[in-house]
Subunit: 491 residues, 2 copies
């Protein structure tokens, strides 16, 4: 192995960090809580971003860009919103540095103090709804279906690469509608887009649901979410879509005249996914040798490694390797021919396993004679000798098979880890011994939710959308309940 | 006209603002100096960004992402760099808000003060070179060819939409090399990429050159640039590429062992273009009726406007309009069929002229009978009746013709506005009466450059790369000079 990876069993958290850092996705920076997204990690984000962007555009959305800064007074207009974000805001107070009068270096120029402090956006509802006031007059201006790709900052005290960082990259959709029904339909449409993206591109099965009041976005009427399961049995919230009612329209006085010329407040949604998804991808699919990336979003889908025997027929190997690479490229496969002769094949095999490249093609002298190659898939590690003739078609199919197999495997794991508990004892035993999701009855109060969290560290991830009605008793209080809700310990 | 545009002759500056705001590109925000990039403007930026990104990747570059925040101490390590940027830095001093103890709203929590202030990046050399120290050990790690698409903040006192805003979007390339020659070659390669992009995509002829010492990037050994000419005779710096020598490697102690196992500091470049380019695009091509966008980067290349006569054969018009739109789309043309029946054709014509859509296709009842359409090009306003048969091919060619014609027109204007002056009197007369670039002799000193600027508001835009040697005398001091340099008043 080129780089030592801690095993999942030994230390899951360290295993995760090893995959992220040694796999070349990201690294800590010297700025507290901020990460550097390295080229391989950013290429992965680009693939995810471009696919999501296509899906947003196919459903009628357009992109725009709003300021990084939010004046403090805007920020505090929606009461629940400011309450939710005030404790994690980076604040700009000055706009100039000056030479330190007491020595070298620079200090903040005390005379360059802002009249009103600016908040670095933790999310953009306030600055965007302040702008929408000028853009919306009549029902003809609606719906407004806008998305923004941006960086945001939330001053988290405990950070983890991708999963929780002070600065992260995300998209935030902010839409405006003439009726509550239309806004709710938009919220649900985007939830479906997120679920489709997670399942079909990230090979990550998710449960769609709605959050309880205490887990709602600050300022939302309803928060919908998709919840995924990681290999350590903990849940990860992978995306949220909020129905905001008229809360932000009221806070920023955004009214429109409807078809009957009546003035009313506009209805809103907002929704986002972030670089956090990359953390979920790593934890859902990786193994003790490294990342395993789903072919549809892998920056590199296949790599060709020549097995040199010194200089023997090296030119022939290189020529054939390049020829195969060109064939695969022509078939739309993202491929690299690694002719670096500083590193031995074994080193390269380990490196591409670590980086999770879905397919490895080894090409040796005997392969030249037999017009075949050795094809290894990263997910199952199965190897096959495959004729060079028709190789591009074979690899294309194999990539689709890998995509499906990764999803099936994650789904089987998830299905094995959805349990039902009817007592607190069983609930706690399941969480401790098995992990995963636990469906249990809950009396519907925030107090009980909090008490269960205190006792078990498990939270209500969501009330699943397809939940069957079922009479029962709350596992904590014994009070009546009409449906089970989905609990888990979560990231 | 749907929206009143100030003419260039009446008020060039207001004309520019009208095009940007009424054309739907951007708007002022309520945050000082920050703009909102509206969907149409952002779609234009996406086309520009995607093309540049392809060109960077085709020349071996990869993308990554570095933190928004730069610790003050990093920022001040390179002396010239901090000197250049200290006066326009947004500074984060606190990380939490709290309820105002004296009333409603929130205030900065005084207990949440950062130990070290964070600067919002005005450019990222310092944070990136601090990171490169961990990434570079040996010549095998070089070259490192990394680009970042990001927002940056420079606290400008006088701002103008796109041309000069406190926050703007840009790309910044930061490369590391084993030798000075390689780094200089990279600097020049990128200058060529920028020039090709400006000329072939933006239809904007540019002059490539090198900056004088006083106009150099803070921390650079040499700054190369491309300079474009606007319709009011003022120049616009459209992109810069810097050879940074070993300045940042020395400031951040970034050394590598070369092929002979000798330790040396790494050689650096950085280069960037920004949303400022959009301002240049508006000013170089627009007319008194609105924007004129070059087809290769126009978000919408063609629009089809049906000419309804009430309900008469409306369905047939709509069916044909959609059929034509589908044909154009299949040919790779970005097209919209505007069947909105709230607005009359005249209103739509004016709106698409304002937005600078290169080609307009009008489709009336008589056209249905004759199997033809009326095609109008935005740049020359020429109209032609064209058979529906083969229309996609015709429009495809027309778009290429428009692209070329826009470049030719801008080039002819630029060539007419490069003058030569041999005395101060002539120099000032040319600037006042004709505008544009003036080639004149200069004695090579910063003092003379500054004196000419004070006297005339003209600066040395660059020393053109293809400058012929020519003996002469400085227009201000009469001292000897070996070449003319390129002066202009500039944005």
């Amino acid at each position: 192995m080129s780089k030592e990876i801690t095993s999942r069993e030994k230390d899951y958290s360290q295993w995760y960090n090893d995959l992220v850092i040694k796999g070349g996705l990201a690294d800590h920076s010297e700025v507290r809580g901020c990460m550097v997204i390295k080229p391989y990690g950013f290429a992965l984000w680009e693939r995810m971003r471009d696919q999501l962007d296509r899906m947003f555009k196919d459903t009628g959305h357009v992109n725009a860009y709003f300021p990084l800064f939010i004046p403090k007074s805007f920020f505090s207009r929606e009461a629940a919103h400011v309450e939710g974000f005030a404790k994690e805001c980076a604040v700009v107070t000055h706009y100039r540095l000056m030479k330190d009068p007491n020595g070298g270096g620079v200090v903040v120029d005390p005379t360059a103090k802002l009249e009103e402090e600016l908040i670095i956006r933790p999310t953009s509802e306030t600055i965007i709804w302040n702008t929408y006031r000028d853009w919306i007059r009549s029902w003809r201006d609606l719906p407004l279906l806008i998305n923004q790709w941006a960086n945001v900052v939330r001053w988290e005290m405990r950070t983890r690469l991708f999963l929780r960082t002070a600065e992260f990259l995300w998209q935030e959709g902010h839409t405006a509608h003439a009726t509550a029904l239309e806004a709710i339909a938009e919220t649900r449409l985007i939830l479906d887009v997120y679920a489709t993206f997670a399942e079909e591109y990230m090979a990550l099965p998710v449960i769609k649901g709605v959050k309880t009041e205490s887990e709602r976005f600050a300022g939302a009427v309803d928060t919908y979410c998709i919840e995924a399961l990681m290999q350590d049995g903990k849940a990860l919230q992978a995306g949220t879509s909020h129905f905001l009612g008229q809360n932000f329209a009221k806070a920023f006085e955004v009214k429109f005249s409807d078809r009957n010329n009546q003035l009313d407040y506009v209805w809103a949604t907002s929704w986002g996914v972030s670089t956090r998804l990359i953390g979920g991808l790593v934890m859902a699919h990786g193994d003790d040798d490294g990342l395993i990336l789903p072919p549809r979003i892998a920056p590199l889908q296949a790599v060709i490694v020549p097995i040199y025997k010194g200089e023997e027929r090296k030119e022939a190997l290189d020529a054939k390797g390049r020829e195969i690479a060109a064939q695969l490229k022509a078939a739309g496969i993202s491929v690299k021919f690694d002719d670096n002769d500083n590193n031995r094949p074994g080193f390269k095999f380990a490196e591409y396993e670590l980086k999770g490249v879905p397919v490895r093609i080894a090409l040796g002298l005997r392969d030249l004679d037999n017009a075949s190659v050795e094809v290894a898939r990263r997910d199952t590690r199965a190897k096959n000798t495959v004729p060079m003739e028709g190789l591009a078609g074979y690899i294309g199919n194999l990539l689709e098979n890998i995509q499906q197999a990764m999803y099936d495997k994650a789904l089987a794991y998830r299905e094995q880890h959805i349990s039902r508990a009817d007592t607190m004892a069983e609930f706690e035993r399941l969480l401790d011994e098995k992990g995963g999701f636990v469906l249990a009855h809950w009396d519907g109060t925030a107090a009980t939710e909090e008490a269960i969290k205190e006792k078990t560290k498990a939270t209500i991830r969501c009330i699943p959308l397809d939940n069957p009605p079922e009479e029962g008793k709350c596992i904590l209080t014994g009070k009546p309940s009409k449906q089970r809700v989905l609990f888990a310990r979560a990231y």
